[in-house]
């Protein structure tokens, strides 16, 4: 996995630079543990049910005696609590802590001046280029497709989400989709490194290069080039509409999927729906230096605010992933096992899984199940 660069063409040097990301995946990335061995993590509750889910995480962590301290920030575009200063504070906290857990910052549809939302700007400033969603069927909860195990890797900083739009003449709007070789190579390398590290067999690139010949064609070319460096991993590609059709008919043919921004959004949500919805799938975003943990399908779920019905599973599982990233293996297993045990028992389930429990009841059940 470590490339010995023999002073070849320029892109080799670029490729070997991104090896550090994979190296960082296997090494502890957080700052050195303090004297009292507590890790500091930035917390961004976001909008909608975010604050409720964060409360669940904090409660579980307190009950489990997890040595993590949260630095909370409240940044919200819809509640008029967003400003440049807040963003700067948040960024400096991130630079110190390197790890964050966050909810979704909702983007209002009306824009005042800037087309890029705060969520997008945060991603760009931290260069969180890779979004990884691990789609696993929950034991004990059956859906139309059981025993799923997919990884969806999505490029998160360019593509259709460029926020470059303009009205050429009244009534005619152009929106630019940008694909670059550097970023396509970077995400392809990330995908193959991830697959190698986790022992996966196949990486499938998802694209629409038959229509967007130059744009997605470039993405596909980069994936193919990177694939040659990993002879042990099978490489395939599939067109996005066929991919969606195959996912609902036979999702077992896929292993790791890598794709540009918009298709990633679609496939993340589709795959989350296959195993139980937005409430059960955790996700994380990586840059070369930072790791941000969140839910897989990112929705503020505003209609559930205050009704105590949101499912904390996704956020709790993501928090467990965060603990593993901080090298707190014992606590990570404790939290994720407790969540899985509650779901498997089936007695306490929130509405989206067909049960009648409130978020609080579910959180209490998880706390009760923490390894005694």
């Amino acid at each position: 996995m470590y490339i010995v660069s023999l002073g070849g063409p320029k892109w080799w040097q670029q490729a070997s630079r991104s090896v550090s990301i994979s190296a960082s995946l296997s090494r502890v990335e957080s700052p050195p543990a303090r004297a009292d061995a507590t890790f500091k993590v930035t917390m961004l509750p976001g909008d909608g049910v975010g604050p409720e889910l964060m409360t669940a995480v904090k409660d579980v962590f307190k009950a489990g005696d997890v040595p993590v301290e949260f630095d909370e920030f409240h940044l919200s575009e819809v509640q008029n609590m967003a400003s440049e200063d807040k963003l700067e504070e948040l960024l400096s906290s991130m630079k110190n802590n390197k790890v964050a857990i966050k909810g979704k910052i909702h983007t209002p549809m009306e824009f005042k001046g800037e087309l890029a939302s705060y969520e997008m700007r945060l991603r760009r400033k931290l260069d969180l280029f890779a979004n990884v969603v691990h789609v696993n069927s929950l034991p004990g909860y059956s859906t139309r497709h059981n025993n799923l195990d997919l990884v969806i890797i999505r490029e998160q900083t360019e593509g259709e989400y460029s926020s470059l739009e303009h009205e050429s003449v009244p009534g005619v709007i152009e929106c630019l989709k940008i694909i670059t070789r550097a970023k396509s190579r970077r995400i392809a390398k990330f995908a193959f490194d991830y697959a190698t590290k986790k022992g996966r067999n196949k990486v499938t690139a998802v694209h629409k290069a038959n229509i967007m010949k130059l744009g997605d064609g470039l993405f596909l070319q980069c994936c193919a080039e990177v694939a040659q460096l990993y002879p042990k991993i099978k490489y395939e590609n599939i067109i996005i509409d066929n991919c969606c059709m195959q996912l609902v008919q036979n999702p077992y043919q896929f292993d790791v999927l890598v794709m540009p921004n918009l298709y990633g959004n679609i496939i993340d949500n589709l795959a989350a729906g296959l195993v139980g919805g937005a409430g059960v799938v955790p996700g994380e975003s990586y840059s070369a230096e930072y790791a941000v943990f969140e839910t897989g399908a990112r929705h503020p779920f505003a209609q559930a605010v205050g009704r105590n019905i949101a499912n904390p599973t996704a956020m709790l599982l993501s928090a467990a992933n965060m603990l593993r990233h901080l090298n707190l293996e014992y606590h990570s297993h404790m939290v994720s096992d407790a969540v899985k045990r509650v779901i498997k028992q089936g007695k306490v389930r929130t509405g989206d899984l067909g049960g009648y429990a409130t978020s609080d009841e579910f959180t209490q059940a998880v706390i009760a199940n923490l390894a005694v």
Binding site: L115, S117, H145, I173, R181, V248, N265, G277
Partner: protein, 361 residues
């Protein structure tokens, strides 16, 4: 505020069907058999229509691209003339040449007749089991602009820019078509699918036009939903959706997603509506060259597209008869083609449907 002749076409065609008791006038339809399994499934459909006594007279045409004056590629003039006259077409699968120098045939047809709306009704087929039951929705996709404008360029080495185009006129046109379709087919709601939180100006314009058009159709419920939310909910509970209207790329993805819910492209009908009253109905699967000519093909997709065509022409009775016969055959499971899980030949499948249609009379 009626826009486009296609809306009035429904009324004018209904007028062709004279009062009850008289034989309805024969209507001409341009038939494009296509390549690969195209010819065999087209003849299967013609046979079934004959058995149902559908008042349709077929004009067969070929649409292989030819170079016209000025060096531009175009479809053969006799095909164009036939289509302009008959206004209705039924098309089989066309081969997409890799290096023939001309653009894909589907693209050429779309440009020639300004086929701006792609309509795909997705209804669960009773005899063909999939994990999703009770699907009954229609996806209406804007087919001329959006992400498929084909405008791309390499700015500097390694940086490519693709342009997504959204215009007010196209958005208004597709929204009006969607609401008219909902009204004519007794559907209760129309949902606009978009990503206006990310592409605030372009999808914002699309959404605004949909909202404006919704004002004139107060009898139809109008909702809007983000694309990712639609995908999330579609695979959990597809029964909550009715008519979906959306720009080009989302439409492409969602219509294939919905086809997957009911069993794939082999059983999904599709229709393309043009600006001058032209409507071309087609099967969306490939040409299947490996089974061409072996009498193994499944004509269901083309047949259901033909049924859609009959409904568009106002011949609801015939449409209902043929659809019922087709679904009954599939439900019985005695004579099924290989892709539906059986062992029969295409001709046997066709004969069974013809028999049922005649029995239904």
């Amino acid at each position: 505020m009626q826009q486009g002749e296609h809306v009035n076409l429904k009324e004018s065609n209904s007028a062709n069907i004279s009062s009850i008791g008289e034989i309805p006038a024969m209507q001409t339809v341009t038939l494009i058999p296509g390549d690969g399994i195209g010819p065999e499934i087209s003849s299967a459909v013609v046979k079934i229509f004959q058995a149902a006594n559908a008042p349709v007279s077929w004009e067969e045409r070929n649409v292989t691209a030819i170079k016209g004056p000025g060096g531009r590629w175009m479809i053969p003039p006799d095909a164009k003339e036939s289509m302009d006259r008959s206004k209705i077409g039924l098309k089989g699968p066309l081969k997409t040449p890799i290096a023939a120098g001309h653009p894909s045939m589907n693209l050429l047809l779309r440009k020639t007749f300004d086929l701006y709306a792609n309509v795909r009704p997705c209804i669960s087929i009773e005899g063909y089991k999939t994990p999703y039951t009770d699907v009954d929705l229609v996806t209406i996709r804007e087919n001329t602009e959006g992400e498929y404008s084909g405008i791309e360029h390499q700015i500097v080495d390694g940086v490519v820019q693709s342009i997504k185009l959204i215009t007010e006129n196209a958005s208004r046109r597709i929204a009006e078509y969607a609401f008219e379709y909902a009204r004519n087919n007794q559907r209760s709601s129309v949902t606009a699918v978009h990503k206006a939180n990310i592409m605030r100006m372009s999808d914002g314009l699309f959404l605004r036009k949909c909202r404006e058009v919704a004002e004139s159709y107060k009898d139809i419920k109008f909702t809007e939903m983000y694309l990712d939310t639609v995908c999330l909910n579609m695979v959990q509970d597809p029964t909550q959706f009715d008519v979906l209207v959306m720009p080009n790329l989302y439409g492409d993805i969602l219509s294939d997603l919905c086809a997957g819910l009911i069993g794939g492209l082999g059983v999904t009908p599709s229709g393309n509506i043009g600006a001058n009253g032209v409507a071309i109905f087609e099967s969306v699967h490939g040409t299947a060259p490996d089974i061409a000519g072996l009498d193994l093909a499944n004509p269901t997709a083309l047949l259901l597209s033909g049924v859609m065509m009959l409904r568009h022409m106002g011949l609801h009775d015939h449409a209902h008869k043929i659809q019922k016969a087709c679904f009954d055959t599939i439900r019985e499971k005695k004579v099924l083609t290989k892709d539906l899980g059986g062992n029969s030949k295409c001709s046997e499948f066709t004969a069974d449907i013809c028999r049922r249609v005649q029995d239904l009379d």
